[in-house]
């Protein structure tokens, strides 16, 4: 049996650990190596910072490990990885400036971004400069966006796995209410996906509550939704999971709770109770989860990564902590296969791989039916449930299998909510 990509990744990380170098400064090692710069044009301040800054911390851990182990060999040469970040604070003006700084001044070979309007504002430049750019929102992909890929988070398609699991394990739950922020980038995309997933499982959606931003009092929203007596309360990418959970707790909700994210769930437990949060279904695991040792997972030493992250940044773990690192690992794999760090070569190499090394395994390129280009990787995704105050993966389910059977239902709901399809 040949060496797999996953073996290479594991060996790289293991090498770093064995060498015992990860706690030392990156620059002290392999000074003779070349340096390849990877850009992050992300929100590091402002409301969106929790979906940017933890990703930078995660990438720095990975880069430090790799550099400490002697760098990465690409095309017969050793490279150190250097992360270069620009804080655009989720502002389109700054996103353009940051993108140009990274691409034209810092000479990065890939730019990782969160997604949404900030990505849309740099797309003409990505195309012009043939710069490999990544997003966590595949809905940013358009038929023209050749250089924009989503190799990790397939937001919000993975939400279907949570609904599948819920329906299988709690068949008595027959009605659901969806609450989310009213925006086409995050909230509506997620709402459409949940609606499709509920329809497929035969669960009636009794309410879709689209709330605005800058809300401070969620009591009326939760009251009005609970008045419809749903068995399932679904938070589809709400930016306000914590206050919604608080209200559900105070208003005595006893049904099932499913959410896209449950960032900082320990804070939610502190504000409510462990018993209340237990059983909440969501989609983003902690990386100390034993289920991540599953052989299909393409992330080296997830437990070690989790421990390092929480040691260096004890209060900063969020959904993106491992996502940007996973994209960085995808890039390294693509560069190795291409024998080049140049963006066009790496893109070609990644796209050439029919079954790319998706973080949770089972990855395949997808997207032309929905966004006009197969530039998003979908694969297995974990269903996570809070058990005894700790997030634990219940099982992996296949997003690509679900899409193969139900994409028309999804497209129907996307169109109903006025979202772009192709």
């Amino acid at each position: 049996m040949g060496i797999t990509r996953r073996d290479i990744l594991r060996a790289t990380a293991a090498g770093a650990v064995v060498a015992g170098t990860s706690s030392l400064p990156t620059g002290l090692f392999a000074a003779s190596n070349k340096t390849v710069k990877i850009g992050m044009n992300i929100p590091m301040t402002g409301d969106y910072a929790p979906w940017g800054l933890p990703g930078l911390y995660g990438c720095e851990i990975i880069a430090k490990d790799i550099n400490g182990a002697g760098g990465v060999e690409i095309g017969g040469e050793k490279y150190n990885i250097e992360m270069v970040a620009y804080d655009h604070a989720y502002d389109t003006e700054k996103a353009v400036q940051g993108y140009k700084k990274l691409v034209l001044e810092d000479d990065v070979k890939m730019v990782m971004m969160l997604g949404g309007s900030t990505v849309a504002s740099v797309l003409p430049w990505a195309q012009r400069k043939k710069m490999l750019t990544t997003t966590l929102l595949p809905s940013d992909i358009t038929p023209k966006s050749e250089y924009l890929i989503a190799t990790c988070e397939s937001h919000p398609l993975y939400n279907v796995t949570g609904v599948e699991w819920l329906a299988k394990n709690f068949p008595e739950a027959k009605t659901a209410a969806i609450v989310t922020n009213n925006d086409a980038e995050y909230g509506l995309q997620s709402a459409a996906t949940y609606k499709a997933a509920f329809e497929v499982e035969g669960i009636d959606v009794v309410d879709v509550n689209l709330h605005g931003f800058d809300i401070t009092d969620f009591a009326p929203i939760v009251s009005s939704v609970l008045a419809k007596k749903p068995d399932i309360f679904c938070m589809a990418t709400s930016f306000y999971v914590t206050p919604l959970m608080e209200q559900l707790y105070h208003q005595g909700f006893k049904g099932k709770i499913i959410s896209c994210t449950l960032d900082y769930y320990d804070e939610i437990i502190a504000k409510t109770s462990k018993e209340f949060v237990n059983g909440t279904i969501f989609q983003f695991p902690d990386f100390d989860d034993p289920a991540l040792n599953d052989k299909g997972v393409n992330f080296p030493d997830p437990g070690g990564f989790d421990a390092k992250f929480r040691k260096d940044h004890p209060n900063d773990w969020s959904a993106v902590s491992w996502e940007y690192p996973a994209i960085l690992l995808n890039w390294i794999e693509g560069a190795k296969a291409a024998g080049s760090v140049e963006p066009t070569d790496v893109l070609k190499s990644l796209k050439y791989t029919i079954n790319p090394a998706f973080v949770f395994g089972g990855g395949k390129w997808w997207g032309s039916q929905l966004w006009g280009r197969d530039n998003s990787v979908v694969g297995r995704w974990p269903v996570v449930v809070v058990e005894n105050g700790k997030a634990r993966i219940q099982e992996y389910r296949s997003v690509s299998d679900w899409l193969a059977k139900n994409k028309d239902v999804l497209i129907k709901h996307m169109k109903e909510l006025g979202l772009r399809t192709v």
Partner: protein, 324 residues
């Protein structure tokens, strides 16, 4: 050397500087220069509103009206920039004209709050109606023009384009301010009862200033969206409006060039403190307080102060009709 010759030489030096400056900047600072150029038009158009003594909190939103108009015209009707720019200004002016009826029933503080409420109502329409405004995520896919083989997606060509448009608009604004209309606007501010006693319809002139200001800031919005390619409601929120106020107050608003000095100095200052990201608003606040305490008439009053200290020329930094 006579003053006319001095003015000509000064103008040529300024023009040469403006033409040369992008070539000495880093790429991302070239973008900053474009946004600065557009913001010069934003503050200059805001000044025409303040000439009548009314300070509004809707100017940023009127810029957004222009931006959304240009975006929708480009995306739905494939109209090029030369059509979207004036139409963006026109729609902003039209909305402003409609808003005059409720807003100018109020004055001073009440007008300020009323204009904020009206602006937020418009912004909420953009947020609430995903179709056609795109909701909080806004709209994207607007492209700059390609003229004679020059692709205006590049920063330097677009800067020259923006500089030309903004320069032309500033010229018109300057001419308006120094025309009979401009003098009447000053009169409405400083001598309203006297102006009314000689038959000046102060409501109409306040409304006119508001409409003119909105027209030009609408053009600024279109200029911005054609470069950025995207537009979101958050770009035109109260945060940006506060920046406009700070630029105008710190620069000074008694002279045409006062707000322009304000936006230029503070933009450069803002970029220089980029590394203090999280405390930048606090620094801005401190600058505003210091400015009000020590330079109540803004940066524009510094030359007059110097002249006064050194006993050169006259110390006239007051507007034409202000009470001495």
């Amino acid at each position: 050397m006579n003053s006319r010759l001095k003015k000509i030489i000064g103008s040529l030096v300024l023009l040469a500087t403006l033409v040369a400056i992008p070539h000495f900047l880093k790429f991302h600072h070239q973008d900053l220069l474009i946004f600065l150029t557009i913001n010069v038009l934003v503050v200059a158009s805001y000044r025409i509103v303040t000439l009548t003594g009314e300070w509004s909190l809707i100017h940023a939103v009127m810029m957004g009206v222009g931006g959304y108009t240009a975006t929708l015209l480009f995306k739905n009707f494939d109209l090029g920039m030369w059509f979207t720019l004036p139409l963006a200004g026109g729609v902003s002016a039209l909305i402003a004209a409609l808003l005059c009826f409720p807003l100018f029933r109020m004055t001073q503080f009440y007008f300020l709050i009323g204009s904020f409420a009206a602006g937020e109502a418009i912004r909420l329409v953009w947020i609430q109606y995903v179709n056609p405004f795109g909701g909080t995520g806004g709209l994207s896919g607007v492209e700059p023009p390609i003229i004679g083989g020059i692709d205006f997606l590049d920063a330097i060509p677009y800067y020259y384009l923006a500089l030309t448009v903004v320069g032309f608009c500033l010229f018109i604004l300057y001419r308006i301010e120094n025309s009979r209309i401009g003098l009447t606007l000053h009169a409405v501010h400083w001598k309203a009862p006297l102006a009314e006693s000689v038959g000046v319809d102060t409501w109409r002139y306040r409304a006119l200033a508001f409409v003119i200001g909105s027209f030009f800031v609408g053009i600024a919005g279109a200029l911005k969206v054609h470069y950025l390619g995207t537009i979101t409601p958050n770009q035109f929120g109260i945060g940006f409006m506060v920046f406009i106020l700070i630029w105008v107050i710190v620069g000074g608003y008694n002279r045409f060039y006062g707000p322009i000095i304000g936006v230029v100095v503070l933009t450069v200052f803002d970029e220089s403190i980029r590394s203090f990201a999280e405390i930048r608003p606090a620094i801005y606040g401190a600058v505003l307080i210091i400015s009000i305490l020590f330079l109540p008439k803004g940066l524009e009053s510094i030359p007059a102060k110097f002249k006064a200290w050194f006993g050169i020329g006259s110390n006239s930094d007051a507007p034409p009709l202000a009470d001495k």
